[in-house]
């Protein structure tokens, strides 16, 4: 029985193939046309990202445009590009200590914060990715709530707390305060990367006689190097963009550039060129490293959960 069916089946296929091949080809062609019409994107798909990117770039362009104009030109003539390009606005920032000190202050506390956050987050992320322990889930959740907590809630008690320790207007105060949301962020991102490393690697290393610190530094850290880079970048970024807490905790000596900018807006409100130049300079750090983290941006913002 089975044999017979096989032959009939074979016979049928053989019979079908020859006369139907031409028909099949036309059918294929129609299918392909149909696919192009319905299944595939239209030929103008590129319009969407292009328009969107133009929308994104216009305001930034306007800021850059303004930073190369004199105040007379900004206020006097409405021009789409600088008629007499000048770098005077940038010179003001690079020569006036009250401006460039702001950048130095920002960079100092941001770097401190990045180093502290990633250093403490590394062992914690390893613990979360490799072990179960008492209250681990709740601890992980508690870290998340700190990432989600509004900085406005913490501004006032931070001021009181750091006053009590005599740390107001120091870089370390801002660095520690930003740990509130950066340490959870670093733990979540690093945990995501570490969970991608198979556990067998740890076990093999221990069997080979590696001690934990040696294993962690020599074998494990190189494996998650990109993860550490991404965590550093996001700690840097979130500390760099935060204004409320940084402004609350500083008065003069450690005042971040962001706060100096706000002050200029409210006080004089006239020096648009310098303001624009200062703004362009604060965008630069992100713009410079963005290429290296382009594939991880979604991951970083989503707390490593993508």
């Amino acid at each position: 029985m089975a044999r017979l069916e096989e032959t009939t089946a074979d016979g049928r296929t053989l019979m079908r193939q020859t006369p139907a091949s031409a028909e099949a080809q036309t059918a294929n062609a129609t299918l392909a046309r149909k696919m192009r019409r319905r299944g595939e994107e239209s030929r103008f798909w590129w319009l969407v990202p292009t328009i969107y990117i133009i929308f994104l770039m216009l305001p930034i362009y306007w800021l850059v445009n303004m930073s190369f104009k004199t105040n007379q030109e900004i206020l006097g003539a409405f021009s789409l590009w600088p008629r007499n390009p000048t770098i005077a606005n940038y010179m003001v920032i690079f020569t006036d200590p009250s401006w460039y000190k702001g950048y130095i202050n920002s960079i100092i506390y941001v770097v401190m914060n990045t180093v502290i956050s990633v250093t403490v987050a590394l062992p914690a992320a390893y613990a979360f990715s490799r072990y179960r322990f008492l209250g681990d889930k709740h601890l992980f959740f508690w870290l998340l709530t700190n990432r989600m907590a509004p900085p406005a809630v913490f501004a006032l008690p931070f001021f009181q707390l750091y006053s009590a320790f005599g740390l107001i207007d120091t870089h370390i105060a801002v660095a520690l305060a930003h740990c509130l949301f950066n340490v959870p962020l670093a733990v979540w991102i690093l945990e995501g990367f570490m969970s991608g490393v198979p556990k067998e690697i740890d076990e093999t290393a221990y069997i080979d006689g590696y001690s934990f610190p040696r294993f962690f530094l020599r074998i494990f850290m190189p494996l998650i190097a990109s993860g550490i880079g991404v965590a550093c970048f996001f700690c840097f970024m979130f500390s760099w963009v935060e204004l409320l807490i940084a402004r609350t905790l500083t008065t003069t000596a450690a005042k971040p550039i962001a706060a100096i900018m706000t002050r200029t807006v409210s006080a004089s409100g006239l020096d648009w060129g310098v303001l624009a130049a200062a703004g362009v300079l604060t965008i630069l750090p992100g713009a410079l490293v963005i290429w290296f983290v382009r594939n991880y941006i979604a991951k970083g913002f989503a707390l490593g959960r993508v």
């Binding site: 800021l63 072990y131 703004g279 989503a302 993508v306």
Partner: protein, 288 residues
């Protein structure tokens, strides 16, 4: 990954615990202490019991700020999520366009928040800003400084400008994880564009969309810097969101008790939302 039970892991978590406890638990305890007391400065405190909470819960100012914030968050989500999905669907899948799109789209995400505010403050000005000037030239009576409606439009467009890319990047990350075989199967079945979206792309994006919705909701619910720089909460109180109101109360008016009570109500809502997020997230991951 199967994780082994080991309570010694606590020692690895300890530094994080101490650090975050210092900057989270001590301030929160302080806030709780303040919320039940009244002060006239100089660290002189008087017991006030639940009065501040009573006042907050019955104050129009609080509920109006809350209402504005919820409306704002809702509008943001309604615009940004579909727009983000739409743009992600039309992103190039391979070639030189991918990194270019990623880099240019991510740029607004990395701009300091107050600079975002400054950019839009300048951009929307009718005398020196491209947007304001153009709208005026086209005959619109646009002025975000005096007109509440224009102020809202400006703040919303600014947020769309600032954060839609996050939705795009998250959705794109979900889309590129779909194997080509799925699309080929759909082609053979002659599936329509909508069917491909509905039955192949959307299910794969579920998880990232969940993250996108929650992140956007959380961040718009605690938005402070950008609208503060652009409108300062005005005109009047029309763009005063919860965080702006809280900072006004705490640092502007130095009304510690009321600000603390408001912080606690605010924080409890955040806790509840974070818990929902975390639970849905872990439940979703456990299913996979």
């Amino acid at each position: 990954m199967e994780r082994t039970w080991n309570n010694k892991a606590w020692f690895m978590v300890l530094p994080v615990l101490l650090l975050v406890a210092f900057s989270a638990i001590i301030p929160l305890m302080t806030v709780v202490n303040y919320s039940v007391q009244d002060t006239f400065g100089n660290n002189d405190f008087f017991w006030a019991g639940s009065e501040w909470f009573d006042e907050i819960l019955h104050s129009d100012r609080f509920w109006e700020a809350m209402g504005r914030n919820l409306v704002f968050s809702a509008i943001i989500l309604i615009i940004e999520i579909p727009l983000g999905i739409f743009i992600a669907l039309n992103m190039p899948k391979k070639g030189w366009g991918v990194p270019v799109c990623l880099v240019l789209m991510a740029l607004p995400l990395l701009i300091p928040w107050n600079v975002v505010g400054t950019i839009w403050q300048v951009f929307g000005r009718v005398d020196i800003g491209l947007l304001g000037y153009s709208l005026r030239a086209l005959g619109f009576n646009y002025n975000y400084v005096n007109d509440p409606f224009d102020a809202w439009i400006t703040v919303i467009v600014m947020d769309v400008w600032h954060w839609t890319s996050l939705v795009v990047l998250l959705c794109y990350a979900g889309l590129v994880s779909i194997p080509d075989a799925y699309y080929q199967a759909a082609k053979i079945d002659g599936a329509s564009r909508w069917a491909i979206f509905r039955y192949i792309q959307l299910p794969k994006m579920n998880r990232v969309l969940l993250i996108a919705v929650l992140l956007r909701f959380m961040d718009s619910f605690m938005i402070y810097t950008e609208p503060f720089v652009v409108t300062g909460g005005g005109p009047g109180n029309t763009t005063t969101f919860l965080s702006i109101d809280l900072v006004k109360l705490a640092i502007g008016e130095f009304n510690l008790g009321e600000a603390a009570a408001m912080s606690i109500v605010y924080f409890l809502i955040i806790m509840l939302l974070s818990w929902v997020f975390y639970t849905v997230m872990t439940a979703y991951d456990a299913e996979q």
